[in-house]
Amino acid sequence: MPRPADVQATDVAGVVSASPGAALEARDLRKRYGRREALRGVSFSAARGELVAVLGPNGAGKTTLLSVLAGLTRADAGTVSRPPSEVGWVPQQAALYSKLTVVENLRLFARLERAPDVEGAVARMLDQTGLADRGRDQVGVLSGGNRQRVNIAIGLLGEQPVLLLDEPSAALDPRQRERMWEFVGALAAEEGTTVIYATHNLQEADRHAGQVVVLADGERLFAGSPRELEATVEGSGAGDFEASFVAFLSDHGH
């Protein structure tokens, strides 16, 4: 069966090869909703095993960018170097069946992903997420943190080289957040998975991301490391990522 998302990626602007060393490259992505431009020629690239944080104020276009990369939304113009089938996607809100157990959720999506070894994939995900002892519990009774871990595990079932996370820690308490980042960091470091995540949490961007992409009003204002962003800001903001970020936006009229 042809996958609509695959077709969509080809329709947008064709799947183009990435620059050498880039696991994912987006070029000149444009998206318009009526009269509003959600993306205005956004480009960036992410290396293998890199963590990329997409930052910006509300309405900046972060979720639209991730939706285009995931193949959920058709861009009006631009190219993405990988088809959606090669990109794992973890939505902001857990996309799980609360009446099914953790194992049943994982097994269902592994089958739909056509995993060659369904039970093996389920066991691996239970192990990676540390949920082996909760496998028989219905998702509806899990804590928000554990639900998010299952949510991420499902996004990883396809073993795609790129993983998109939309506000992954929004519903988690500090301890759960820490455990999640340990898990995601291990994915990038040990599996070489490129992780692109949208977040409002500047501390998380500063601590975990190798690259931050700053969007505002659909426009990419910056792409580089957190230190590079700090360096662009003169004065008191230097050395404090959060203050630098605010100053950076202010300098650009946001």
């Binding site: 069966m1 996958r3 609509p4 998302a5 695959d6 939706s67 995931a70 193949g71 959920l72 939304t73 959606p84 089938s85 996607w89 939505p91 809100q93 857990a94 996309a95 799980l96 069946y97 609360s98 009446k99 099914l100 049943e104 269902l108 999506f109 089958r111 739909l112 992903e113 219905q138 499902i154």
Partner: protein, 445 residues
Amino acid sequence: MGWLLLKDLRILRRSPLLVALLVLYPVLVAALIGFALSRGPERPRVAYLNQLPANDTTIDLGGERIDLSRYTEALSANVETVPVASRSEALEAVREGEALGAIVIPPDVTQRLQSGLEPASLEVLYNAEDPVKARYLQDLVKSQVQDANGVLTRRFTEVALDYLDLLVRGGDLNFLGRQFNVLGLERSERILRAALEDLPARSSARPPLEQVIGFAALARENLDLADDALTAVGSPIQVRTQVVEGSSASLSSFAVAVAVTVTLMFVTLLLASGLLALEREENAFRRLVRGLVSRTALLGEKVVLAALCSLAVALVMLAGLALFVGLDFSRAGLWALALAGGALAFAAMGVAIGALAREVRAASLLAFMVALPIAFLALVPSGAVSAGLYGAIRFVSALFPFAPTLDAVEAALSDAGDLLVPLLHLLALTVGFGVIGRLGLRRFG
């Protein structure tokens, strides 16, 4: 699609309260509708005053004795009687609301009927505050009086015919205890002809005698024809019934068809719309359609699952009802066919509703809001509204699966009408609503 279907079945199995409500509520509603359709109006309370003397309830018509109490008892048997002693009491009972109406049978009914010269009359008093019951009372009295009139008219006609036969052919007549021999027109004519032959050819008595013979012959021939005329007068209007529109199903099988169709509608609509809305409520929809399942396959899975589940419920319900109503089990294959056609169309309509809603609760509410009016519209009988409005109602009903499903189920239950046409209608609706549902899902990426 198979894995999704199994997943939905597992979710349903783990929601026993929801499933129980989903099945029991429509069955309860359907049973109530069916019960309301299959029983007549409640018997009205009627003041009943029978002033006929107990020993004077029979009349003798040509030797046949007709007991009028048989008809007066039938009048009282179909109402809840409130005994009264006088006409004023009857009037008071109606006025005070103790009784909806009153039937007064005056004491001279027997004498008047026996005389054959004056019509007898009954008196019906009623309170029109409840039009349905008042109409029922009027219809009841009319039908019972019509029955009595029918019997009396037939007997009066037979007596008249006997007298005519006596006039034409002659014979013995018993009158006031005395036996008479009536000559009759035939014998009169024969005697007169014999007398005419004995008269001289030029006798002056011949012309008047020939005139009398001619009159007797004419009277005999015409009175012979009076048999048919009097029979026709005895029942001047005969009723022939023919079904022009709608099925000729019995009331009980119609009520069963309505009950089963209502159940099928509710279960399928709620299930199909709810299952599709659940994918969105659980946020799984976008994950699924991101290459794992096509939107069309997702829609098809919901339609098939909802149709199969509701078909099973409806078939079990029908089989249960068949034990009480006496349906023909040899037609079970047709039942399944009709219900399957309806289930698919309702399921397609359900996913169209589910595609509009983001939550199961919203989808269920929307399904209820849509289902009830289309069911009631389809049940509006012709004649209840103006012709133009009825045409509009039929047109609107044809756009939804209830009316064709009801037609199909009726046809399957009792051979009342064609099964193929409603099935084709349902197929078209399945495709139509499927397309609407698919277009609805395009909005959600």
